[in-house]
């Protein structure tokens, strides 16, 4: 991508989502993320994440406050026994891509999850999404497994994981928390 046809990135603003801003931002978040999905999520999926973990969602706005990038995540105890962060959605407007915007958003999400004591952060991405794999792997994520036909459109995914604390791999399920977290992962992964 050449400098000339990509918009300048110096006047961009990054900010944390807040539920009080739902009316202002939710429609554009849906539009931005829905654009690259073959199967759009229902509004409940967005609210599921944003209403509970708005502080783990970050947005990039252009100088005229138009949303050009967003990351949506959550953090909760997982049935494996870890306190697990999960990046559910990430998107940057086409013409702003390749300038490190997504990288910055992911960094902000990781920092926020670290701050909140996450053991690990996981996500899934399609095996042929080169941009996504590159940006996560450059930051330190490893592929942990391949998921055959993971998406509804039949595409295969990698699960990527970043450990934040030693001993994460040795954690074990705590009985009473079994189930729930896993179910939601399957639903929205």
């Amino acid at each position: 991508m050449t400098e000339s046809n990509s918009p300048a990135t110096d006047n961009l603003r990054y900010l944390q989502y807040d539920i009080s801003k739902e009316e202002e931002y939710l429609p554009s978040i849906r539009a931005l993320i829905g654009k690259d999905l073959s199967e759009p999520y229902s509004i409940y999926v967005y609210r599921y994440f944003l209403n509970q973990w708005g502080d783990l969602c970050f947005m990039t706005l252009d100088p005229s406050s138009v949303l050009i990038g967003v990351i949506v995540s959550k953090l909760e105890p997982h049935r494996s026994g870890t306190f697990r962060g999960y990046i559910a959605m990430l998107a940057v407007v086409d013409k702003y891509r390749g300038q490190g915007i997504a990288t910055k958003l992911v960094r902000m999400a990781i920092d926020a999850m670290k701050e909140r004591n996450a053991d690990e952060i996981v996500l899934e991405t399609e095996t042929d999404n080169a941009a996504s794999l590159k940006l996560y792997e450059r930051l330190g994520f490893l592929r942990s497994k391949k998921l055959h036909r993971y998406y509804l459109n039949g595409n295969t995914a990698y699960r990527l994981i970043l450990y934040l604390k030693p001993g994460t791999g040795l954690k074990r399920p705590e009985r009473d928390e079994a189930g729930m977290a896993a179910v939601t992962d399957e639903m929205y992964g």
Binding site: I110, R138, L139, L142, K146, H148, R149, Y150, T168, G169
Partner: protein, 675 residues
């Protein structure tokens, strides 16, 4: 309103009904066109897409299934009284559709009879529609046959009137019904085992005429509708129809038939030998393109359909193929003895041994089943399921040591035979996890050195375990032949050959892994492999994540992080020293020798006779990988001593080939070009 989001809603003026008239007369070319389109959808469904996006978009299929009818005669394109003057070709189409639906019903039954993963492998959702489940398949066969007969007779009846093209078309229709008949027979449940081998070749033979006459058909796109999805009981919004071209579907169908045929070659394994089956299943699941869920279920429904006792028996056979050939421990007589009535009477040692073995096989059966079951899944699942199974095998080994002690008091066999058998299986599983990781491109380029280093350690460890077994067998062989027990000695000889094959495989794996490790270390030294900076992660945490499936194993204990770091740290020092330390050439030589020795031993000794061709090809690809590794090493030798890093980088192009672009998917040999 976002139309993509809300595609379940109707546009203004739109109705749920399609205006297509299913009772309209069809031209024969239209019937061919519809049948071929249905075939494309059937194949797409076999590939994992739901019926709603494939076959259930057909208005004809919809009419047959809805409203539901209990008996075959009610499943018509109309409900109630047969409309006057219904075109007879509609009956032909109906027979085809009914048989197609029955095929789907039987396919679902087969796939769901074993473990499978909904949507990932296959979609069994029928949206509350019964796919003629209660209709016996022979009734459907009758229907098909009567349509074939009708077409054949009409052909004979009016030879002069019939236009040449419609002659061809009638033939094309017969071809399609014949194919459907054979397909139905192939998926039918009550096949005699002996007939099974013949059913798929018969389907395959019916395919070429379909391809040859496809161009005669005329598509009837109006008879398919995405709207039907909205009437199906489903929680997901309608999704686009999955369209395979006829050419693509045809190729995939040919492959499916071949895979089913080859899956059933498992029946050619006449012994109960688990090791023969293991080889068979690996060779089958390594095929490219990967066999579909249905083909895999053909294999697993033969092999996995055993009772727990069946698996316990299989473990005994497995033991007899490794640690206990012709061994008194497994003497069938032992298992027929009854416990002495009085507790004062001395217990029969043979009975005691049988009790120990029974306890062991009883305990091991669930884990043993899990191992086989994971090998029958799609490859991604296989890797993940083995990861999950390994800790249980570890527990099993620990628990088995006590049984070994008890056994030792009763017989002079090798030390720890049962736990040795478990240990060997566990080490093999660890190797599989790592090798499937290479295959599935789970490891990034700068992780390869470390993962081959670990693989090399595991395989070498396994080789040493096998060596103990081999030595034990050698001793027994000597004793038995000296004692004139020729038959038993011979059994041990055969087992020794197999154990030797295992040994070559383990040493070959270890040595080649070592060569790969050394090669990547040299490449790191020359800075020819990109290393990611990873600002958010520490190498110790990455090591923990990589080793997660093995963290708790004991044995083998995973290397400490310090040892791993020592082994994979960027080499420093003079090039000569570094190249001497990371001896690619020596390890390649060792690897080649081991694989060549395995080749000489042959498929039969390696218990891979039924899949001999695939076994040989696999071996040849492995040997190719050894050679390529050696060539890669020699390409980067002879670098002028004064060449700085910058110049070295300019001198070479290093490409890490992805899955499918390697000689063997387990050996990621870099392609290096000197500019």
């Amino acid at each position: 309103m976002d139309p993509k989001m809300d595609s379940g809603f109707l546009k203004p003026g739109e109705t749920l009904d399609d205006n297509y008239d299913v009772s309209r007369a069809l031209l024969p070319e239209e019937v061919v066109g519809i049948m071929d389109q249905l075939l494309c959808y059937e194949v797409a469904w076999h590939h994992g897409y739901p019926l709603s996006q494939t076959l259930f978009t057909s208005i004809y299929i919809d009419r047959l299934l809805w409203p539901p009818s209990d008996c075959l005669s009610d499943a018509q394109f109309y409900r109630g009284i047969r409309p006057m003057g219904l075109h007879p070709l509609l009956d032909v189409l109906r027979s085809y559709c009914i048989a197609l639906i029955k095929c789907c019903d039987l396919t679902i039954e087969k796939v769901t009879s074993r473990d499978y993963y909904e949507e990932e492998d296959f979609s069994t959702h029928t949206y509350n529609r019964s796919l003629l489940h209660t209709v016996p398949h022979d009734k459907v066969l009758e229907l098909l046959r009567s349509s074939i007969e009708w077409l054949s007779n009409s052909r004979n009846r009016r030879p002069s009137e019939v236009h040449r093209t419609s002659r061809e078309l009638e033939e094309a229709l017969i071809n399609r019904l014949t194919f459907r008949e054979r397909m139905l027979l192939a998926v039918a449940p009550e096949q005699e085992i002996l007939d099974l081998a013949a059913v798929w070749p018969a389907v395959s033979a019916a395919l070429p005429p379909l391809e040859a006459t496809h161009s005669l058909g005329r598509p009837v796109p109006d008879s398919f509708s995405e709207k039907i999805q909205r009437r199906l009981a489903s929680t997901v919004p309608p999704r686009p129809t999955v369209d395979f071209t006829f050419a693509a579907a045809y190729t995939k169908l040919v492959q499916l038939c071949k895979d089913c045929e080859d899956a059933l070659r498992v029946l050619e394994i006449t012994t109960e030998s688990p090791q023969e089956h293991l080889s068979f299943i690996w060779m089958f699941s390594s095929r490219k393109p990967a066999p579909l869920a249905y083909a895999r279920s053909c294999l697993s429904s033969v092999f996995l359909a055993r009772t727990t006792e069946g698996f316990e028996q299989l473990i005994q056979t497995d033991l007899s193929e490794f640690v206990f050939p012709a061994d008194p421990v497994l003497d069938p007589v032992n298992f027929t003895l009854e416990a002495a009535q009085s507790s004062f009477a001395p217990q029969d040692k043979r009975l005691a041994m049988a009790t120990i073995i029974n306890e062991f096989t009883g305990r091991a059966a669930p884990q043993y089943f899990d191992m086989w079951n994971s090998l029958c899944q799609n490859r991604c699942r296989t890797r993940r399921m083995i990861c999950n199974n390994i800790p249980f095998i570890d527990d099993l080994q620990f628990a088995t040591e006590q049984l070994d002690d008890e056994l030792h008091d009763l017989t002079h066999t090798m030390r720890y035979p049962l736990s040795t058998w478990v240990y060997h299986m566990k080490l093999r599983m660890v190797e599989w996890v790592v090798q499937l990781g290479f295959e599935q491109e789970v490891y990034l380029p700068d992780e390869l050195a470390g993962m081959y280093w670990w693989l090399s350690q595991v395989a070498s460890l396994r080789a040493s375990v096998i060596e103990q077994v081999y030595n034990h067998l050698s001793r027994r062989h000597e004793i038995l032949s000296n004692g004139g027990e020729i038959e038993k000695a011979e059994t041990i000889r055969t087992t020794q050959a197999f154990v030797k094959a295992l040994m070559y495989e383990a040493t070959g794996t270890g040595a080649l892994a070592d060569a790969m490790y050394a090669l990547y270390m040299r490449l790191h030294y020359l800075q020819l492999v990109p290393i990611l900076s990873r600002p958010y992660s520490e190498s110790s945490l990455r090591y923990e994540l990589r080793m997660k499936p093995f963290l708790r194993l004991n044995p083998p204990q995973i290397p400490t992080f310090e040892a791993f770091e020592e082994a994979t740290r960027m080499p420093s020092g003079s090039q000569d020293d570094v190249f001497a330390k990371y001896d690619v050439e020596g390890s390649v030589k060792e690897a080649k020798e081991a694989w060549a020795a395995l080749k000489r031993l042959g498929a039969r000794a390696a218990k891979s006779e039924v899949v001999q061709a695939a076994w040989e090809k696999n071996l040849a690809s492995t040997i190719q990988s050894c050679i390529a590794c050696g060539i890669a090493a020699s390409t980067i030798s002879n670098i002028p001593k004064d060449a700085g890093t910058g110049r070295v980088k300019e001198m070479f192009q290093v490409e890490i080939p992805g899955e499918g672009k390697r000689y063997h998917d387990w050996w990621v040999v870099p392609k290096i070009k000197r500019n």
